[in-house]
Amino acid sequence: MWSYDKILEFPVKIKNPNPALAKIIISQYGGPDGELAASIRYLSQRFTMITPEAIATLNDIGTEELAHLEIVGAMVHQLMKNASIEEIERAGVGPYYTDHGKGVYPQAAAGVPFTAAFIQVKGDPIVDLTEDLAAEQKARGTYEWLINQTDDPDVLEPLKFLREREVVHYQRFGEALRKVQDYLQEPRLFIMPKPDFMNRND
């Protein structure tokens, strides 16, 4: 179960509305390498994970990703909230506004709605953790492309924080994968060789 704290993990305080930025940042809300995909991926994979370390890692990083989903949602919300219709139209956000108004809808930057096809849950610890390592790098890459597209410090700071968290998560998943590999390679056979006299038929 979860318990909610009424505070963001990292503050979002964006002065200037900017629908064009909202339209691309939303990719980290509901896009292929976004926080919703990350969260639901880890929280679903944990049921069949092995080793206490890797299970806890999936559980807790999946939980932190929910807090990141909230941060990204707050960014999109604040970037849209005080935007005028003219600004929305000029920024090319008219199609989004038509379907969702100023609501925060989980979709990729190019408009593809969130789908579970963005993620995999294989039920195999090596497969799942290897996917998670890639996922963290893809999310880091996305945050860097987003950072490339703005110079508003109010937007940059939370983006930089979120990017840093992907780096930390990648490190922890690497350690979890090593634990799982070590566990799978541990010799677990304690069979004594059968003494010769037991094989005699005479």
Binding site: S3, I7, E9, F10, K15, K81, E175
Partner: protein, 90 residues
């Protein structure tokens, strides 16, 4: 009367201490035998609890399951964390 500056300062402290907790907890998941890290984590857990209690007393409910509410039910009070006004300036 609530002093907004003091409230934001407390939120800043809450965020900082929570970040230490988050980081140490993830680290400990893959390093469960690091005695020093456990001691640090427990210290921050105590600090976090203290700060949340202080916030609850002065500015309202912050923790869904731990905070106490006066009358009327305070959990519904705005602003929610995703609003501009709820956040401190870096």
């Amino acid at each position: 009367m609530i002093n907004i500056n003091n409230m934001m300062e407390l939120k800043r402290e809450l965020s900082a201490v929570h970040m230490m907790l988050e980081e140490l907890q993830l680290y400990l998941n893959t390093h469960p035998s690091d005695r020093d890290a456990i001691a640090k984590r427990n210290l921050f857990a105590k600090q976090y609890k203290g700060l949340k209690d202080e916030f609850n007393k002065s500015y309202g409910m912050i923790s869904q399951d731990d905070s106490f509410s006066p009358y009327p039910w305070q959990w519904v009070d705005e602003p929610w964390p995703w609003e501009y006004e709820a956040n401190f300036k870096l």
